[in-house]
């Protein structure tokens, strides 16, 4: 089967709607298909991967820890919009650690988070074969 480039476009905050959770469920399944997978976090989508989420007060499942599993599934390209972060008063330090082990670099642990400018996002987007939006 040919390898295609899949982009998962995440633009909504978690919990207010189900899109963030069900998008993550697709990504975990996608891993089994050995395609080239990227995730983009733009607009309020950046809140999906913010550190310190605690859902005890709203009676909903906190699924934010699941993003940590992505590295084990060889999904390690999480592009986060620099503009979206800064508009929201956020920076890379506010994002939860999401890492992978680089098999090409003696299994060194590296961050899967890449903060990118709009120009970089434009370029990444242009390379995709399939874009799944939620």
């Amino acid at each position: 089967m040919a390898t295609k480039k899949f982009m998962y476009l995440n633009r909504k905050a978690p919990y207010g709607t189900v899109y963030a959770l069900e998008s993550l469920e697709v990504v975990l399944i996608a891993a089994a298909f050995e395609q080239d997978v990227s995730l983009a976090f733009i607009d309020d989508g950046v809140y999906q991967i913010i550190a310190g989420q605690n859902t005890d007060g709203i009676g909903m499942k906190n699924f934010s820890k699941t993003y940590n599993a992505l590295g084990d599934y060889d999904i390690n390209k999480l592009y986060v919009s620099e503009q979206s972060l800064s508009e929201r008063g956020l920076s890379e330090a506010d994002i939860m650690p999401i890492v992978y082990e680089d098999e090409d670099d003696d299994w060194a642990e590296k961050s899967s988070i890449k903060i990118v400018s709009n120009a970089e996002l434009t370029k990444i987007m242009a390379e995709q074969d399939v874009c799944l939006s939620f």
């Binding site: 207010g16 007060g57 956020l90």
Partner: protein, 98 residues
């Protein structure tokens, strides 16, 4: 009146629409994704004066869920669901900006 806003001011225009109409006796409760309006960010000025007047509340559970407890703008008052009920009882007609 109690005005509720449940969407982020980055995603939708509902907070602005509420602010265009709200009167001086009213208060605002931010809930669900609306708590993003309570964070200290480039749109905080929209609510700054009302917050300083003690008229802006945010639902604590929603704030914590979105990881922004330590990043709130000044003068935002946190309430739990019990406090939400009190706001409804105290402030008369409830208007939801969906």
């Amino acid at each position: 009146m109690l005005h509720t806003v449940n969407k982020s001011s980055f995603e939708r225009n509902s907070l602005q629409s509420c602010l265009d109409i709200i009167d001086e006796k009213s208060v605002i409760l931010l809930l669900e994704d609306g708590v993003i309006c309570a964070a200290d960010n480039t749109k905080s000025s929209m609510l700054a004066q009302l917050a300083a007047d003690g008229k802006v509340f945010a639902l604590k559970g929603d704030v914590e869920a979105r990881g922004i407890s330590a990043k709130l703008a000044e003068n935002i008052q946190l309430v739990d669901y019990s406090g939400f009920v009190d706001l409804v009882v105290e402030h008369g007609t409830a208007v939801s900006w969906l």
